[in-house]
Amino acid sequence: KFSYFIKLLLSARDMIRSIRACKTAAEERAVVRKECAAIRAAISENDQDYRHRNLAKLMFIHMLGYPTHFGQMECLKLIASPGFPEKRIGYLGLMLLLDERQEVLMLVTNSIKQDLNHTNQYIVGLALCALGNICSAEMARDLAPEVERLLQFRDPNIRKKAALCTIRIIKKVPDLAENFINPAAALLKEKHHGVLLTGVQLCTDMCKVSTEALEYFKKKCIDGLVKVLKDLANSPYAPEYDISGITDPFLQIRLLRLLRVLGQGDADTSDTMNDILAQVATKTESNKNAGNAILYECVATIMSIEDNSGLRVLAVNILGRFLSSRDNNIRYVALNMLMKAITLDTQAVQRQRATILECVKDPDASIRKRALELVYLLVNESNVKSLTKELVDYLEVSDQEFKGDLTAKICSIVEKFSPEKIWYIDQMLKVLSEAGNYVKDEVWHALIVVITNASNLHGYTVRSLYKAVQTAGEQETLVRVAVWCIGEYGEMLVGSAGVLDIEDPITVTEADAVDVVEAAIKRHPLDLTTRAMCLIALLKLSSRFPSCSKRINDIVLHHKGSLVLELQQRAIEFSSIIGRHEKIRSALVERMPVLDEVTYTGRRAGSVPAAVSTSQGAPPRIPNGVAKPTSAPLVDLLDLSSDETPAPSSFGGDFLQDLLGVDVSPASSKGTNQTQKSGTDVLLDLLSIGTPPAQSSSSTLDMLSPSQDNKSSVDILNTLASPSTTPSAQASSPAGISPMMDLLNGFGPSPSGPETNGPTYPSVVAFESSSLKMTFNFSKEPGNPQTTLIEAQFANKSPNIYSNFVFQAAVPKFLQLHLEPASSNTLPASGNGSITQKLRVSNSQHGKKSLVMRIRINYKVNDKDVLEEGQVNNFPRGL
């Protein structure tokens, strides 16, 4: 035997040596090939003598990464041999070269069965080991009875192997678990640590697949388990099982886990373990990893079983201590566990907030990530400001890889918990300045929505943005938002409108404002979105700052040769407006209407609200009609397919059709006569700019032509008639076809007030609800029977003030409607004041059809948005 052994070793050693001596991969391959060939030959000759050695060599070759399937049958032959050494190598080879999915494995079943019944317990051990590591479901079924018997074998080494083997069996064939309940429970009474350990593990896994087992162990084994754990915890020094001064921490941990499984969801069972858990939690030494491992498991158990607030507090305290540990591992597991604890006892975790915040700045990336998640879960109304400040401060110094996550979380927190708009805007500006390039599109779009809704903050916002771009101009997203705002609120920037107490006043000239946009367009030569936004901002500024018009035109013209079609087209068209169509320019670039926040968030959530309270403005997804990088951005944006029936959008057009059942006529800018094609279309298209594809294609307006063709452009700014803040040069154009020239050049000065003459008409209560009353007073312009001047008066019937009051109206195609700005946006309560607003309606079917109007009123009361809608049908006849 001895010499056999030597022969084996030497030969295998020789091979290993010669492989290690190889200097290149090619050399190694050559040696391996030679050896494999020799082994193959030996196999085919059914060589007995060197089978053992050859398999050993084969295993080594396998470990190097070479294919060795031809050796599989050799394993079987060796296993079938009578001697221990052969069997040992055979089983070893089996476990290394095969796995449960191979059919060859089935052939071994019989050998294993015999070996499980062998008189030599070491051979029994070999078989159990192989079975436990790689058996398949069929083998499990076949050999379960043998294993069950072996759970009660006299030798503890066999019992523990059998226990673990059983784990595999019940995982492969869960139905068999029932057979093992009793023998498994018996193991829990053992004294031998190895058997106890494996027995506990077996019972734990059995509970996962069999409720019967779970119930049985709960009933019969709890007290025993608690006692074992107690004895271990109180154990004096036991050299054989001592690790860092603790007796068999592995067993203690497994016991804690089994207790967890048994105590979950069961208050009575949980009660029985309270004492031992408290003892372990308080008495276990935590200066070494072994002790901390036990504490960790103990905390996990406390968190999972039925509530005992005393224990929970203990547990969270342990986690708090862990968080301050210098050991990274400990901090990491603490953060993990705190995520779970937060659902059970938020207060306790809140107390650890400061330490958790420190972990956000940890050098270890996985600790940072977890800590950030945790912080996110801890944010509430009362701590949002201080937490956000910490996070934003950290944003400045954080790693590049982390900035993305951090930015996303900050934006999410800010959006969710923002107590007031000005704070939201401030935080977002900070984030944009620091990490704008990480901010996602939806986020800065949402910011713009909020900005439009904060009308009292427009001046503050545009000034803050102006300041920010001076220092953080490389952040494209910041630049986009800034450019948009400067375009919209440019006059407020220059005119220092709405300065808040907290602001440092700055002086910005028109030229300064234009400088910013010009710089932006130059600085980001590759960014189509930014440049496109700049162009339209410039168009707006050319209207708001007429003195800069020439300069702006030059800047715009610079791009008329752009190779990007989008920019080229915009440049040419805008330049054309600036140069030759001054009269309609201001109308075109009037202030955008307030974008509806509710709708926007609803859309973001993925669902367009079923109710018809959708925004009347451009969905901010593409503010200012920025072309999305789709395959045909131009088509969408500029509505070049407007010759055909435009595709119905999910938004604008259909909604409008639905709402009104009629076409809309705009208050300000005009659509055109669609019989005129080319030039008209260009203008139409032009007017669609600033509207997302959704809107622009939904052209439903046609106010001038009585033709039934439905194709017309939508006024980008007001789809429903809304008051414009800059009174535009509205002409009360007569109904009927106007040639193109008239449209562009024929605008007269603002309509004069209706000095009324002619027949008087009685006032009507046009709309009334429980909270609001709207009265219409009528008059006619002398000599203009088709046109009616209406003065709308709103009264607040409730005891609460209405703010952000906006009235809108829509009329059918044969009518033309114009709204003037309202007297105010705030409607005092209980009728202690009113808002008035003037309307003018022209009736092309005067005498044949009566006036009819759909109205919509938005306002804010007690911080809630309210929408009221209705139809006015009670116009006096003859209007």
Binding site: L92, L164, E240, A293, N328
Partner: protein
């Protein structure tokens, strides 16, 4: 449970690979490559735990060898860290100041020791003394 155990040196050579879940040979090679890449570059200041696919790897470096355990995501990391250390202590005792070469030339013995320590992906015995004694008995039979 433990899904697999790997012993790899800094160059990525596998000195021991034990799988308790079935994997194709090609998949095993891929796994070994990925795990090695994960652990070999990690800063020693970082935790000994790395996320790996839908599980996690607990690892520790001893001289030129990385000992890696892939376990379920719900397992106790600190406990497995402790078990790695116990395994190293057993090897150290058995080979009397173990070095990488011992493991190379005696790979079949290393597997034998491992099979006395872990079975079916779970711990089998926590007493170093018991395992060493058992190994003694087994050697006599060979």
């Amino acid at each position: 449970m433990i899904r697999f155990i790997l012993l790899q040196n800094r160059q990525g050579k596998t000195r021991l690979a034990k799988y308790y879940i079935p994997l194709e040979e090609s998949e095993k090679h891929k796994v070994e490559y990925e795990v090695h890449r994960l652990v070999v570059n990690r800063d020693p200041k970082f935790t000994n735990f790395v996320e790996f696919r839908t599980h996690k790897v607990i690892y520790r470096r001893y001289a030129g060898l990385f000992f890696s355990l892939c376990v379920d995501i719900t397992d106790n990391e600190l406990a497995y860290l402790e078990s790695i250390h116990l395994f190293v202590e057993i090897l150290d005792h058995f080979f009397s100041n173990v070095c990488e070469l011992d493991l190379v030339f005696n790979f079949h013995k290393v597997y034998l020791i491992l099979d006395e320590f872990i079975l079916a992906g779970e711990l089998q015995e926590t007493s170093k003394k018991a395992i060493i004694e058992r190994m003694g008995e087994l050697e006599k039979l060979d």
